[in-house]
Protein backbone atom coordinates (compact mmCIF):
# COMPACT_ATOMS: atom_id res chain seq x y z
CA UNK A 1 0.00 0.00 0.00
CA UNK A 2 1.13 3.51 -0.77
CA UNK A 3 1.32 5.58 2.38
CA UNK A 4 2.20 8.99 0.88
CA UNK A 5 -1.34 10.26 1.47
CA UNK A 6 -0.92 9.60 5.19
CA UNK A 7 2.24 11.69 5.33
CA UNK A 8 0.64 14.40 3.25
CA UNK A 9 -2.22 14.48 5.73
CA UNK A 10 0.34 15.23 8.40
CA UNK A 11 1.53 18.31 6.53
CA UNK A 12 -0.22 21.44 7.84
CA UNK A 13 0.52 23.35 4.64
CA UNK A 14 -1.02 20.68 2.42
CA UNK A 15 -4.05 20.50 4.70
CA UNK A 16 -4.53 24.27 4.64
CA UNK A 17 -4.36 24.49 0.84
CA UNK A 18 -6.72 21.58 0.21
CA UNK A 19 -9.37 22.73 2.69
CA UNK A 20 -9.33 26.28 1.26
CA UNK A 21 -11.20 24.91 -1.74
CA UNK A 22 -13.81 23.13 0.37
CA UNK A 23 -14.88 25.83 2.80
CA UNK A 24 -17.36 27.69 0.61
CA UNK A 25 -19.20 24.57 -0.56
CA UNK A 26 -19.24 23.06 2.89
CA UNK A 27 -20.75 26.27 4.30
CA UNK A 28 -23.38 26.31 1.54
CA UNK A 29 -24.42 22.67 2.10
CA UNK A 30 -24.53 23.23 5.88
CA UNK A 31 -26.82 26.26 5.60
CA UNK A 32 -29.15 24.50 3.14
CA UNK A 33 -29.46 21.34 5.24
CA UNK A 34 -29.84 23.08 8.60
CA UNK A 35 -32.43 25.55 7.36
CA UNK A 36 -34.41 22.80 5.61
CA UNK A 37 -34.28 20.39 8.55
CA UNK A 38 -35.08 22.91 11.26
CA UNK A 39 -37.81 24.85 9.41
CA UNK A 40 -39.43 21.56 8.41
CA UNK A 41 -39.28 20.31 11.98
CA UNK A 42 -40.58 23.57 13.46
CA UNK A 43 -43.36 24.46 11.06
CA UNK A 44 -44.30 21.52 8.83
CA UNK A 45 -43.92 18.30 10.80
CA UNK A 46 -47.10 17.21 12.62
CA UNK A 47 -47.38 17.50 16.41
CA UNK A 48 -46.72 14.42 18.53
CA UNK A 49 -49.92 12.80 19.81
CA UNK A 50 -48.47 12.42 23.32
CA UNK A 51 -46.05 15.32 23.71
CA UNK A 52 -47.78 17.92 21.56
CA UNK A 53 -45.44 20.53 20.13
CA UNK A 54 -42.70 20.34 22.76
CA UNK A 55 -41.25 17.37 20.87
CA UNK A 56 -40.08 19.80 18.17
CA UNK A 57 -37.05 20.33 20.40
CA UNK A 58 -35.72 16.91 19.29
CA UNK A 59 -34.80 18.33 15.87
CA UNK A 60 -32.00 20.08 17.75
CA UNK A 61 -31.61 17.83 20.78
CA UNK A 62 -31.02 14.50 19.00
CA UNK A 63 -28.45 15.78 16.45
CA UNK A 64 -26.41 17.73 19.01
CA UNK A 65 -26.46 14.89 21.54
CA UNK A 66 -25.21 12.49 18.85
CA UNK A 67 -22.55 14.97 17.80
CA UNK A 68 -21.39 15.57 21.36
CA UNK A 69 -20.44 11.87 21.50
CA UNK A 70 -19.09 11.57 17.93
CA UNK A 71 -16.92 14.61 18.53
CA UNK A 72 -15.50 13.04 21.67
CA UNK A 73 -14.67 9.82 19.83
CA UNK A 74 -13.02 11.80 17.03
CA UNK A 75 -11.05 13.83 19.57
CA UNK A 76 -9.79 10.69 21.33
CA UNK A 77 -8.82 9.04 18.01
CA UNK A 78 -6.99 12.18 16.86
CA UNK A 79 -5.25 12.29 20.23
CA UNK A 80 -4.20 8.64 19.87
CA UNK A 81 -2.86 9.26 16.35
CA UNK A 82 -0.88 12.19 17.72
CA UNK A 83 0.51 10.04 20.53
CA UNK A 84 1.46 7.10 18.31
CA UNK A 85 2.73 8.79 15.13
CA UNK A 86 3.68 12.17 16.66
CA UNK A 87 1.61 13.82 13.97
CA UNK A 88 1.32 17.56 14.66
CA UNK A 89 -1.89 17.99 12.69
CA UNK A 90 -3.60 15.22 14.68
CA UNK A 91 -2.67 16.95 17.94
CA UNK A 92 -4.11 20.20 16.64
CA UNK A 93 -7.28 18.40 15.45
CA UNK A 94 -7.82 16.92 18.91
CA UNK A 95 -7.26 20.29 20.57
CA UNK A 96 -9.72 22.25 18.41
CA UNK A 97 -12.45 19.57 18.70
CA UNK A 98 -12.81 20.01 22.44
CA UNK A 99 -14.51 23.43 22.62
CA UNK A 100 -16.92 22.49 19.81
CA UNK A 101 -17.79 19.21 21.52
CA UNK A 102 -18.26 20.99 24.83
CA UNK A 103 -20.65 23.50 23.26
CA UNK A 104 -22.71 20.69 21.72
CA UNK A 105 -22.82 18.77 25.00
CA UNK A 106 -23.95 21.92 26.77
CA UNK A 107 -26.65 22.44 24.12
CA UNK A 108 -27.82 18.82 24.41
CA UNK A 109 -28.13 19.11 28.20
CA UNK A 110 -29.89 22.46 28.02
CA UNK A 111 -32.40 21.54 25.30
CA UNK A 112 -33.02 18.27 27.18
CA UNK A 113 -33.77 20.17 30.37
CA UNK A 114 -36.10 22.61 28.61
CA UNK A 115 -37.91 19.71 26.95
CA UNK A 116 -38.06 17.83 30.27
CA UNK A 117 -40.02 20.56 32.03
CA UNK A 118 -43.27 20.29 30.04
CA UNK A 119 -42.82 16.55 29.39
CA UNK A 120 -41.57 15.06 32.67
CA UNK A 121 -42.53 18.00 34.90
CA UNK A 122 -38.92 18.57 35.95
CA UNK A 123 -35.85 20.27 34.51
CA UNK A 124 -33.38 17.71 35.77
CA UNK A 125 -33.22 14.21 37.25
CA UNK A 126 -30.08 12.32 38.24
CA UNK A 127 -30.81 9.42 35.94
CA UNK A 128 -28.04 7.48 34.18
CA UNK A 129 -28.34 9.14 30.76
CA UNK A 130 -28.40 12.70 32.07
CA UNK A 131 -25.62 12.10 34.58
CA UNK A 132 -23.32 10.42 32.04
CA UNK A 133 -23.90 13.33 29.62
CA UNK A 134 -22.99 15.76 32.39
CA UNK A 135 -19.84 13.72 32.93
CA UNK A 136 -19.08 14.11 29.21
CA UNK A 137 -19.29 17.89 29.61
CA UNK A 138 -16.85 17.74 32.54
CA UNK A 139 -14.50 15.52 30.51
CA UNK A 140 -14.43 18.18 27.80
CA UNK A 141 -13.77 20.89 30.41
CA UNK A 142 -11.03 18.78 32.01
CA UNK A 143 -9.45 18.20 28.59
CA UNK A 144 -9.48 21.93 27.81
CA UNK A 145 -8.07 22.84 31.23
CA UNK A 146 -5.27 20.29 30.89
CA UNK A 147 -4.52 21.51 27.36
CA UNK A 148 -4.22 25.07 28.70
CA UNK A 149 -2.16 24.10 31.75
CA UNK A 150 1.09 23.45 29.85
CA UNK A 151 3.21 26.01 28.03
CA UNK A 152 4.76 23.31 25.89
CA UNK A 153 2.34 22.23 23.13
CA UNK A 154 3.77 18.71 22.89
CA UNK A 155 3.44 18.02 26.61
CA UNK A 156 -0.05 19.53 26.63
CA UNK A 157 -1.13 17.29 23.76
CA UNK A 158 0.32 14.16 25.37
CA UNK A 159 -1.34 14.72 28.73
CA UNK A 160 -4.71 15.70 27.33
CA UNK A 161 -4.76 12.86 24.77
CA UNK A 162 -4.29 10.35 27.58
CA UNK A 163 -7.19 11.94 29.46
CA UNK A 164 -9.34 11.78 26.30
CA UNK A 165 -8.55 8.08 25.83
CA UNK A 166 -9.35 7.23 29.44
CA UNK A 167 -12.60 9.19 29.23
CA UNK A 168 -13.62 7.18 26.16
CA UNK A 169 -15.04 4.64 28.60
CA UNK A 170 -17.91 7.06 29.22
CA UNK A 171 -19.17 6.81 25.62
CA UNK A 172 -20.62 3.25 25.78
CA UNK A 173 -21.99 4.16 29.21
CA UNK A 174 -23.94 7.04 27.65
CA UNK A 175 -25.15 4.86 24.79
CA UNK A 176 -26.33 1.90 26.88
CA UNK A 177 -27.42 3.90 29.94
CA UNK A 178 -31.02 3.78 28.80
CA UNK A 179 -30.87 -0.03 28.57
CA UNK A 180 -28.71 -0.89 31.58
CA UNK A 181 -30.57 1.29 34.06
CA UNK A 182 -34.19 2.16 34.46
CA UNK A 183 -33.96 5.74 33.24
CA UNK A 184 -36.53 8.46 32.86
CA UNK A 185 -34.86 9.27 29.54
CA UNK A 186 -36.54 7.42 26.70
CA UNK A 187 -34.65 4.72 24.75
CA UNK A 188 -32.84 5.55 21.52
CA UNK A 189 -34.94 7.35 18.94
CA UNK A 190 -32.95 5.98 16.03
CA UNK A 191 -31.10 2.71 15.64
CA UNK A 192 -29.23 1.21 12.74
CA UNK A 193 -30.49 -2.27 13.43
CA UNK A 194 -34.26 -1.91 13.55
CA UNK A 195 -36.95 -0.23 11.53
CA UNK A 196 -37.69 3.32 12.63
CA UNK A 197 -40.61 3.61 15.00
CA UNK A 198 -41.07 7.24 14.06
CA UNK A 199 -43.51 8.44 11.42
CA UNK A 200 -41.71 9.46 8.20
CA UNK A 201 -43.15 13.00 8.48
CA UNK A 202 -41.01 13.40 11.60
CA UNK A 203 -38.15 11.08 10.68
CA UNK A 204 -37.20 12.77 7.40
CA UNK A 205 -36.70 16.28 8.85
CA UNK A 206 -34.86 14.73 11.80
CA UNK A 207 -32.44 12.90 9.49
CA UNK A 208 -31.90 16.08 7.44
CA UNK A 209 -31.08 18.09 10.53
CA UNK A 210 -28.73 15.34 11.81
CA UNK A 211 -26.78 15.45 8.52
CA UNK A 212 -26.92 19.28 8.67
CA UNK A 213 -25.45 19.37 12.18
CA UNK A 214 -22.68 16.93 11.18
CA UNK A 215 -21.82 19.24 8.27
CA UNK A 216 -21.89 22.17 10.67
CA UNK A 217 -19.49 20.37 12.99
CA UNK A 218 -17.14 19.68 10.08
CA UNK A 219 -17.29 23.34 9.07
CA UNK A 220 -16.65 24.70 12.58
CA UNK A 221 -13.92 22.11 13.12
CA UNK A 222 -12.11 23.00 9.86
CA UNK A 223 -12.37 26.73 10.59
CA UNK A 224 -10.78 26.27 14.00
CA UNK A 225 -8.16 23.84 12.74
CA UNK A 226 -7.15 26.18 9.90
CA UNK A 227 -6.70 29.05 12.36
CA UNK A 228 -4.71 26.77 14.68
CA UNK A 229 -2.46 25.68 11.77
CA UNK A 230 -1.65 29.32 10.97
CA UNK A 231 -0.82 30.09 14.59
CA UNK A 232 1.50 27.10 15.06
CA UNK A 233 3.18 27.57 11.68
CA UNK A 234 3.66 31.32 12.10
CA UNK A 235 7.45 31.03 11.63
CA UNK A 236 7.19 29.31 8.23
CA UNK A 237 7.56 31.00 4.86
CA UNK A 238 4.18 29.90 3.50
CA UNK A 239 2.25 31.43 6.41
CA UNK A 240 4.20 34.70 6.13
CA UNK A 241 3.49 34.86 2.42
CA UNK A 242 -0.18 34.06 2.96
CA UNK A 243 -0.58 36.79 5.57
CA UNK A 244 1.22 39.39 3.47
CA UNK A 245 -1.06 38.68 0.53
CA UNK A 246 -4.13 38.99 2.75
CA UNK A 247 -5.27 42.59 2.36
Amino acid sequence: MNWTWFHKLGSPKWFYEVTSKWMFWLALITVLLLVTGLVWGLAFAPADYQQGNSYRIIFVHVPVALLAQSCYIAMAIAGAVGLIWKMKLADMAAKVSAPIGASFTFLALLTGAIWGKPTWGTWWVWDARLTSMLLLLFLYFGYMALQAAFDNETTASKASSILALVGLVNIPIIKYSVEWWNTLHQPATLTFTSKPTMAPEMLVPLLISIVGFYCFFTLAFLMRLRAEVLIRENRTQWVKKLVQNDV
Binding site: L34, L38, L42, A43, F44, A45, P46, A47, G52, N53, S54, R56, I57, V60, H61, V64, P99, I100, S103, F104, F106, L107, L110, T111, I114, W115, K117, P118, F216, L219, A220, M223, R224, R226, A227, E228, L230, I231, N234, V239, K240, V243, Q244, D246
Partner: protein, 58 residues
Protein backbone atom coordinates in the same frame (compact mmCIF):
# COMPACT_ATOMS: atom_id res chain seq x y z
CA UNK B 1 -47.52 24.32 7.09
CA UNK B 2 -48.83 22.38 10.09
CA UNK B 3 -50.14 25.45 11.95
CA UNK B 4 -53.12 27.48 10.63
CA UNK B 5 -51.96 30.90 11.86
CA UNK B 6 -48.83 32.76 12.89
CA UNK B 7 -50.07 33.08 16.47
CA UNK B 8 -50.69 29.35 16.81
CA UNK B 9 -47.22 28.77 15.32
CA UNK B 10 -45.70 31.01 18.00
CA UNK B 11 -47.84 29.53 20.77
CA UNK B 12 -47.31 25.85 19.84
CA UNK B 13 -50.23 24.74 22.02
CA UNK B 14 -48.67 26.27 25.14
CA UNK B 15 -45.20 24.84 24.46
CA UNK B 16 -44.05 27.93 22.55
CA UNK B 17 -41.69 29.37 25.18
CA UNK B 18 -39.89 26.04 25.63
CA UNK B 19 -39.47 25.40 21.90
CA UNK B 20 -38.46 28.96 21.02
CA UNK B 21 -35.94 29.29 23.84
CA UNK B 22 -34.29 26.05 22.66
CA UNK B 23 -34.04 27.28 19.10
CA UNK B 24 -32.76 30.70 20.17
CA UNK B 25 -29.97 29.13 22.26
CA UNK B 26 -29.13 26.82 19.37
CA UNK B 27 -28.70 29.80 17.05
CA UNK B 28 -26.42 31.44 19.64
CA UNK B 29 -24.25 28.33 20.00
CA UNK B 30 -23.98 27.98 16.21
CA UNK B 31 -23.09 31.67 15.85
CA UNK B 32 -20.44 31.42 18.58
CA UNK B 33 -18.79 28.44 16.88
CA UNK B 34 -18.54 30.39 13.61
CA UNK B 35 -17.52 33.73 15.15
CA UNK B 36 -14.75 32.31 17.37
CA UNK B 37 -12.41 30.95 14.65
CA UNK B 38 -12.99 34.03 12.44
CA UNK B 39 -11.88 36.21 15.35
CA UNK B 40 -8.85 34.01 16.17
CA UNK B 41 -7.78 34.21 12.53
CA UNK B 42 -8.19 38.01 12.35
CA UNK B 43 -6.22 38.61 15.54
CA UNK B 44 -3.46 36.30 14.32
CA UNK B 45 -3.17 38.05 10.94
CA UNK B 46 -3.00 41.52 12.53
CA UNK B 47 -0.34 40.35 15.00
CA UNK B 48 1.79 38.61 12.40
CA UNK B 49 1.61 41.59 10.04
CA UNK B 50 2.83 43.84 12.84
CA UNK B 51 5.68 41.45 13.64
CA UNK B 52 6.72 41.21 9.98
CA UNK B 53 6.76 45.00 9.65
CA UNK B 54 8.92 45.28 12.76
CA UNK B 55 11.33 42.63 11.47
CA UNK B 56 11.54 44.39 8.08
CA UNK B 57 12.60 47.66 9.72
CA UNK B 58 15.53 46.06 11.56
Amino acid sequence: MYFDSVSSFLEMGGHGPYVWVCYAITVLVIAYNIWRPIRTRKVFIVDLKRRLRREARK
